[in-house]
Symmetry: C2
Subunit: 371 residues, 2 copies
């Protein structure tokens, strides 16, 4: 696959559409996260589902992260092959082929996985015994996201007790992540949802403790809420992912008085004006295949009073307001992705820019690692 | 990248999520398209932006297509490198790097491109002269889609006259595609929008003819409307893409009494139940990175009264109605993508199934070819 840029290119010479990363903003975001939790008894394990890029994982670990999270066995494999050693798959791995891949990886790396169902625990146990290993597992709790996870309290206890009887598994603790809470707009809403998740998790942890089961790890949290979990005295680890990039959806959150760092937008889609019927009707070369629109359309960076109005497969239509300057054919424009994670997954490379030029090209090696 | 299947695998053994193609339905769709226009004075040039797969392009050409359409220079390059010789880029190619790539390709293949702006025509002309070639161009008309294209009538005539003076370019005719018309739900709505596009195109063709400019090619049309253009006596060529696959969005069109073939769903996302808190709450392993939701959520195939309720990055939540059977952990379920083109662009391979088994794996070589 052809690369959209070469090292040393000016930004205006990058072929489009391309995914560009402002290296300074990216580094400030990383430093802000680590500073915000420094002194707190909390480990940082950034989620690599956002970037899918081993170079970023290496930098996160060098900055103090204990390892990374992945969401899929094949995603984890891309990181293991790139030399990342400490990975939590913060998700269930179900199915023979996936479990076989997991066991092969567990021979080479420090790997843990989540479970929320006794049948899955049994399958993992049997495969681990056959592979001659003891696989670390966390029980995922359903704490409000209405997605994966076993019900907190009694059901979680029963599963933990069953896992305690399985010689192929090593019980590590709890995974409790409230995804939708990250995107609630006001701090109060995020706090209410997160407090409920923390409370359910605390109660389950304590219930397990009363039955002699120790949770050494309690992990979860995302970019929208992580300070709440970090200060909870329940969680031992946070898993933010988007903080390195940010996106249009997170920009709609109110961060005022949240006590959380204000992360900067570091990730952009560079696009070109490819059609200009009149000064008010510009079409750019970034559409649905260049930017995921699941959480809304991209925003136009840099240009005042210009709106991304409509996306089709390969096109984006811009709308110019009365205070906008004229656009021109071939003009390069930066867009802020609507939702960073699925947008990154559309690209094979991150073009790292600094002071107006391409400084590096980082392969997105786990792009498309769906299985 | 690891493959989700091997030839000979039963469908239930394919790793998930995976993009699977029912070979029989795919072939019936191809045959139905060719039969529907047989006897009409119309060429078929399927749009490869839907499949991005040279193996499919080869089959389309073997079945009588004159060549393919692409939407991007890099997409066309993937097909040229795979041996496809006749390609229309049904879109504008703007920018130095893209034009350089176009010229390199035009040395090796029978290539044409659309223009809708004098500056772009001038840039193409200069590059073609420098490369020692004469590049075929079509003028794209804006016929209702409010996207690319020059205004029909006078502006198009002026551009055609200017192109006539450019020694590096060879004027071939008109491109006129009404994208949104394809997805209007009733035949009457599609007919009204398409009739307007046909009428604007006819008038412009005739205006050019009165000025001594012959349009040998008038091309456009998609899966929702192509019979109208094929019978118009204006268009010489149609460009349907989705007809080979179909999707949930096209399934909401009313095809009743349209005189058009009823295409079958041949493209599916195979997914697994990976979490099952209770019989009513199943989570599958296909989310936003496995299915584009720009035109709505996927539909659940095969299972009665089960609905795809919600997608997040890596998860889909299914909702079981009162008449649904119980689901089980690890159960493989076929989904119908909401929108085929951007969904195909998420995968590196099409897993071709026939009579319950994997028959072939076709690489999606132009996946991610955005530039």
């Amino acid at each position: 696959m052809h690369s959209a840029a070469q090292i040393g290119d000016a930004i205006a010479d990058i072929d489009t559409p391309a995914l560009i990363l402002d290296r300074s903003a990216f580094e400030r975001n990383g430093a802000a996260l680590m500073a915000s939790v420094s002194g707190l008894p909390i480990a940082v394990r950034p989620h690599a589902k956002s970037h899918k890029c081993p170079e970023i994982a290496r930098r996160q670990i060098a900055a103090g992260a204990v390892g990374i999270c992945c969401q899929k066995a094949s995603e984890a494999q891309a990181f293991v092959e790139a030399g990342i050693q400490n990975i939590l798959i913060s998700n269930e791995v179900v199915g023979e082929k996936k479990i076989a891949r997991l066991m092969a990886m567990a021979q080479r790396a420090d790997l843990a996985v989540c479970v929320d169902h006794i049948e899955n625990a049994q399958a993992l146990n049997a495969a681990a015994i056959a592979a001659g290993i003891r696989l670390g597992v966390l029980i995922e709790l359903e704490v409000g996201a209405q997605r994966c996870g076993i019900a907190p309290g009694g059901p979680a206890l029963a599963l933990a007790q069953a896992i305690g009887q399985m010689p192929g598994l090593r019980f590590l603790g709890l995974q409790a992540y409230h995804g939708p809470a990250q995107h609630l707009r006001t701090l109060l809403e995020r706090r209410l949802a997160t407090d409920q998740a923390i409370s359910l998790t605390r109660d389950t942890r304590d219930l397990l403790a009363r039955h002699g089961i120790v949770c050494n790890h309690v992990t979860g949290a995302g970019t929208g809420s992580f300070m709440l979990e970090a200060c909870s005295a329940v969680y031992t680890e946070i898993q933010p992912g988007s903080y390195i990039f940010m996106d249009a959806d997170y920009s709609r959150n109110d961060w005022h008085d949240s006590g959380m760092p204000i992360f900067e937008q570091s990730l952009f889609i560079l696009t070109s004006v490819m059609s200009l019927r009149d000064p008010d009707h510009a079409v750019v070369d970034a559409g649905l295949k260049a930017s995921s629109v699941d959480s809304g359309l991209p925003l136009v960076a840099d240009l005042a009073d210009v709106r991304f109005h409509k996306a089709s497969d390969e096109h984006g239509v811009l709308q110019r307001g009365p205070n906008a300057e004229k656009m021109w054919l071939g003009q390069k424009i930066r867009l802020i992705p609507g939702h960073c994670d699925p947008t990154v997954n559309l690209y094979d490379e991150l073009i790292v820019v600094h002071e107006g030029h391409v400084e590096a090209i980082w392969p997105i090696l786990a792009r498309g690692a769906l299985c």
